[in-house]
């Protein structure tokens, strides 16, 4: 008889338990060790002690979360949902186009954890690869739009237009409160502008700018032109732009990047700001997202840019190095005075789009554009020859056809034949060609529309609209033409970066947990990837079912009645929630309720979002323990009783603590007629143990890219669903082109089958935000089930308390709850160490790189501290490796304190050390080369080598440069 040995969990567990065990890094034996270290008998006991009694989750009579299934079964269910989507050939256009994702980019970027599991590049020394990819993106956008500086991407095109409007108001010299919008703007953009302008008191004026004489333009702080227009029309906006400048206004132009390879660039006709999307540069439509929007500005407006901006600086020895520039513009520093509430970008998608340009080069892009345009001119020629009027005689890829009385019939016939056309009105249809359009498509469309399509036609673009200037001149866009070269370039960049595939990223408040391969599998399936966001409902049954299920599950676990998945980031979820609160008060006639109370300890985004929802921020003090000061809260509530709109509170707090007073806090606000917004950024500490809706929350946003496994992508995508009680449902984000206006409800109290309508201001270009990444969160919940989610929370809180207890003797833990326990993260106070030794939080963070780690969150929420969040997904061995690195670094700091090294000539201040630093030239430091790069013997075989020394932040901000540096800079 032979004995087959099995690992823990694999013999007794079912397939479903198998995934829970794969997701949670610590085994039951590990957890026992950790519990012993913190003096708790069990995870249940730990959670009972940590989470206040007053908020423990109520038992549900029945749950709509199904019993968990294993990885293979989940894929089968996803296949079944996918099969209920129909991939028809889209000619719908309106900002979303068919595109071919080069396989080398799909495999090496989109499906590569080195790219998708990275975090926002706050530690630039270990992020040089994706920072270079983002500099490529910025250079590509700036050159194609003919402007000087582009940012590292926006959430989508329509929100980029809104940000353009807000930028125009800030930067304009006009005293007017009016913004002029072209009626030929995309319908989703018009809807967003309308809602967002109303919230901040901007007056919108819509005019058909192509036919409006400049003398008919009203005085305005800015103007918005869609180029080409939604109906496909292209006109020269130069006269409009000149006229708006005369009054001190700003011209914002949404431009199609592919069209700009043929058309005059916005910067060349005087635009101050260009915005748009890079979707058709190789990023699948995905039923609406995620995609990278963009924004570029002329010289002089750089400091007004919202969002992330990558710039070039230099490292400690003068070598060029990239890092995020001008961060003081952003909400985490400026709070309610920030340029925007946007925190993040769409990095993964911006990387894909930039690599599409790198791979195709300027000639390849021009070829794709020319072919796309040619397909449209052939269709137009066929239509005209058969007497079908083409209403826009100047176009790039979109035709507006006059078909009196036949529009419905033709759209239906096309759908039957597998083609999607846009119904404009009873007598007009429009259709858009793209990179994927074939000659066969044209012939079949011609048959449906009743004309033959010639293969030789002439472009109608007038000479004065044609582009003559060069673009993408940097060698990076002209070098990687072979697949071998492209593959190696992507590998070369990925190798510079530290992502979850290399080790733990213990970033507090970021929840860098596992993004499982099975969860990621469906993202690129054609039935999810190649669906237009405005496809008819009958084509997207699978998507609507998946979205409905996920909305219901998220409602149940948070104790709310309804969820909208539309917001593309946590910041947008906040905005949607606050707009809902404002909408609710207005509907009740409570126009005066505009005060939003925000605790001092809140994330800066809260304040920035409140301002954009038309609210006024009043700050509530926090006590020494970091909790909301209940007396100050009551005083502020009393002072603003009649104006109180809302309180925004994060739970557990940004200090990583379960506040015991939370019920008293929410009750005080409700008594005064205010609504409670619970920021759900820290839901990973609560799931399964407490529900926001049960302890007083009226509305919350969640971060699917934190708690629900959507990868961070190096700084986006994100999904920030907004969850609310039924009374706020009518004010949650609606959308003019949504396939369904109402949603099923997940409320435990509601009858099964109840539906609630969402009819508020849209906050994203697409009705369901970024649907192609929702299968990730769907699969996570489906495979974890209620118990698995609860176990994950317990493991995450245990891991944080274990780290706190092991490091407490070396670094003080700044905050803990009444029980002496932290939630899912802990703050290590490095200020005493700095005072004693001169070693700073920066020194420790950079030294961790030499030890093979990504630093924890630095100086948030308290300057001079590190916030550690291990998550449930890390193994005990990795957690111990981190703890031991932190202890070893403390010992080094003590040698500085003892006078053995000066702080300036210590391995801490010298960190991070490159290979060059310890090999090239004379070694003159007070510490040895081995101490510099191999402080632990185990590193000899597993060394991560940073590509640059510590980066000089100030130099880069004083010498702003945000495009690809010349090749000679690296010589």
């Amino acid at each position: 008889m032979s004995v087959v040995e099995s690992g823990p969990g694999l013999v007794t567990g079912s397939a479903a338990e198998g995934f829970v065990d794969r997701h949670i890094g610590t085994t039951p034996e590990d957890q026992k060790t950790m519990l012993d270290a913190i003096g708790q008998p069990s995870v249940e006991a730990l959670m009972r002690a940590a989470v206040p009694d007053s908020i423990h989750a109520q038992a549900l009579g029945s749950s709509i979360l199904p019993s968990p299934i294993g990885e293979q079964e989940a894929l089968v269910e996803l296949r079944s949902l996918a099969s209920r989507n129909t991939v028809n050939r889209s000619f719908l256009g309106l900002g979303y186009y068919g595109t071919v994702t080069p396989a080398v980019i799909q495999r090496n970027v989109l499906e590569n954890p080195s790219w998708y599991t990275a975090y926002t590049p706050y530690q630039p020394e270990i992020s040089q690869g994706r920072l270079e990819a983002l500099i490529n993106f910025q250079t590509m956008v700036a050159e194609l739009t003919g402007l000087t500086t582009a940012n590292a991407s926006m959430l989508d095109e329509s929100t980029a237009v809104v940000e353009g409007m807000l930028l125009a108001r800030r930067a304009s010299k006009s005293a007017s409160n009016r913004f002029v919008v072209d009626t030929d703007a995309l319908p989703q953009t018009r809807a967003l502008l309308k809602g967002r302008a109303a919230a901040v008191g901007i007056e919108l004026v819509e005019l058909p700018l192509a036919t409006t004489g400049v003398d008919a333009l009203p005085e305005a702080f800015g103007v918005f032109v869609q180029y080409p227009g939604a109906t496909g029309n292209v006109f020269d906006p130069a006269a409009i732009v000149d006229r708006i400048h005369l009054g001190g206004g700003i011209a914002v132009v949404a431009a199609d990047l592919l069209a700009l390879t043929l058309l005059r660039a916005p910067g060349e006709f005087g635009a101050d700001v260009a915005v748009g999307t890079s979707q058709r540069f190789g990023v699948p439509m995905g039923f609406g997202g995620p995609h990278a929007g963009y924004m570029a500005v002329r010289t002089g407006l750089e400091r007004q840019l919202p969002g992330r901006l990558v710039g070039v600086s230099q490292d400690a020895v003068g070598n060029p190095a990239y890092r995020l520039s001008l961060q003081t513009r952003e909400q985490h520093i400026r709070r309610e005075k920030a340029t925007s509430n946007i925190c993040t970008a769409q990095v993964l998608l911006a990387v894909m789009a930039s690599m599409y340009a790198v791979y195709h080069g300027p000639w390849g892009l021009k070829h794709i554009a020319t072919r796309t345009h040619r397909m449209a001119t052939d269709l137009a020629a066929g239509a005209q020859a058969a007497g079908v009027e083409v209403e826009n005689d100047v176009f790039f890829d979109t035709l507006l056809l006059s078909v009196p009385g036949r529009a419905h019939e033709l759209v239906a016939r096309a759908h039957d034949a597998g083609y999607l056309l846009t119904l404009v009105d009873e007598g007009r249809i429009s259709l858009s060609t793209d990179e994927t359009t074939t000659r066969d498509d044209l012939d079949r469309l011609g048959e449906i529309l009743g004309f033959a399509v010639p293969s030789e036609s002439r472009s109608s673009l007038p000479d004065d609209l044609l582009r003559t200037s060069d673009y993408l001149t940097h060698p990076v866009f002209r070098t990687h033409r072979s697949e071998t070269s492209m593959m190696r370039y992507l590998k070369h960049l990925a190798d510079k970066d530290y992502a979850l595939d290399r080790g733990m990223i213990p970033l507090g408040s970021c929840t860098m947990k596992l993004n499982a391969a099975t969860e990621m599998a469906a993202v690129t399936w054609p039935e999810f990837a190649n669906i237009h966001p405005f496809a008819p409902a009958s084509d997207v049954e699978g998507y609507l079912e998946l979205i409905g299920q996920l909305e219901g599950w998220l409602s149940e676990v948070t104790g709310y009645d309804t969820v909208s998945l539309q917001p593309n980031a946590g910041s947008q979820g906040e905005l949607a929630g606050l707009l809902a609160i404002r909408g609710f008060h207005l509907a009740n006639g409570d126009d005066a309720r505009t005060v939003c109370l925000i605790p001092q300890s809140a994330h800066g985004t809260n304040a920035a979002s409140a301002v954009l929802a038309g609210l006024r921020v009043v700050v509530v003090a926090c006590d020494d323990a970091g909790d909301v000061d209940l007396d100050d809260l009551r005083a502020k509530v009393a002072e603003h009783a009649l104006e109180l709109a809302a309180l925004m509170v994060t739970y557990p707090s940004t200090h990583g603590v379960y506040e015991h007073d939370i019920r008293a806090i929410t009750e005080a606000v409700h008594e005064a007629g205010g609504q409670v917004y619970v920021d759900g950024a820290n839901l990973n500490a609560l799931l399964g143990f407490a529900r926001f809706g049960e302890f007083g929350g009226d509305v919350s946003h969640l971060n699917l890219h934190k708690t629900f496994c959507i990868p961070h992508g190096g700084g986006g995508p994100g999904v920030g669903p907004v969850a609310a009680k039924a009374h706020l449902a009518p004010f949650l984000p609606g959308h003019p082109l949504a396939q369904q206006a109402d949603r099923r409800t997940g409320a435990p109290a509601a009858a099964a089958g109840d539906r609630l309508a969402h009819a508020g201001v849209p906050v994203s270009a697409a009705p369901y935000g970024s649907p192609s990444i929702l299968p990730i969160s769907w699969a996570y919940v489906r495979m974890m089930g209620t118990q698995g989610l609860t176990d994950a929370t317990g493991a995450a809180v245990l891991a944080a308390n274990y780290v706190a207890s092991r490091l407490r003797d070396h670094y003080p833990v700044l905050y803990s709850g009444e029980s002496g326990l932290v939630a899912h993260e802990c703050i290590l106070d490095l200020r005493p160490l700095r005072d004693a030794t001169g070693v700073t939080v920066d020194d420790v963070a950079k030294r961790l790189i030499d030890y093979g780690f990504h630093a924890p969150t630095m100086s948030f929420p308290v300057a001079g501290t590190l916030m550690v969040e291990p998550t449930e997904s890390e193994d005990l061995a990795e957690i111990d490796r981190f703890v031991e690195a932190m202890i070893a670094i403390k010992a080094e700091a003590d040698r500085v304190g003892a006078g053995e090294w000066s702080a300036d000539d210590s391995p801490l201040r010298g960190a991070p050390h490159t290979a060059e630093a310890v090999i090239a030239g004379e070694w003159s430091a007070a510490y040895t080369r081995e101490e510099a790069v191999y402080p632990l013997k185990a590193l000899v075989r597993s060394k991560y080598w940073p590509p640059v020394r510590r980066i000089d932040q100030a130099w880069g901000d004083r010498n702003l440069f945000c495009a690809c540096p010349p090749v000679e800079a690296f010589a």
């Binding site: 400091r303 961060q327 003081t328 932040q953 100030a954 004083r958």
Partner: protein, 124 residues
Amino acid sequence: MTDLTTLKYTAEHEWLLIEGDTATVGITDYAADKLGDVVYVDLPAVGSEIEAGKVVGEIESTKSVGELFAPVLGTVLEINDAVVDSPDLVNSSPFGNGWLVKITMSGDLPALLSRDEYVALTAE
């Protein structure tokens, strides 16, 4: 080296050198140190009317933003172009080449702090 006792100070960490009806204004070494590496200064337009206590400019470092408050009522006579071009002057010479604006004062001088009073304030 400027004699720091000849200057007046505000609780917003600004200093004033008062000569006749002209006040030269900058931020103190304490403020510059708290801000860290200054990378950008935004100063009011020459000729603009300013009112004591109102924000008239910004001083940005890599990690934070400080607001520049007008310490007195008056008109901006001159701004320091050198500091706009080289914001690090605020760190390297806060009381000298890192001065920010000159103001032609109108109206009465508000209550200002002496060197001793300011040092006592920052020692807290």
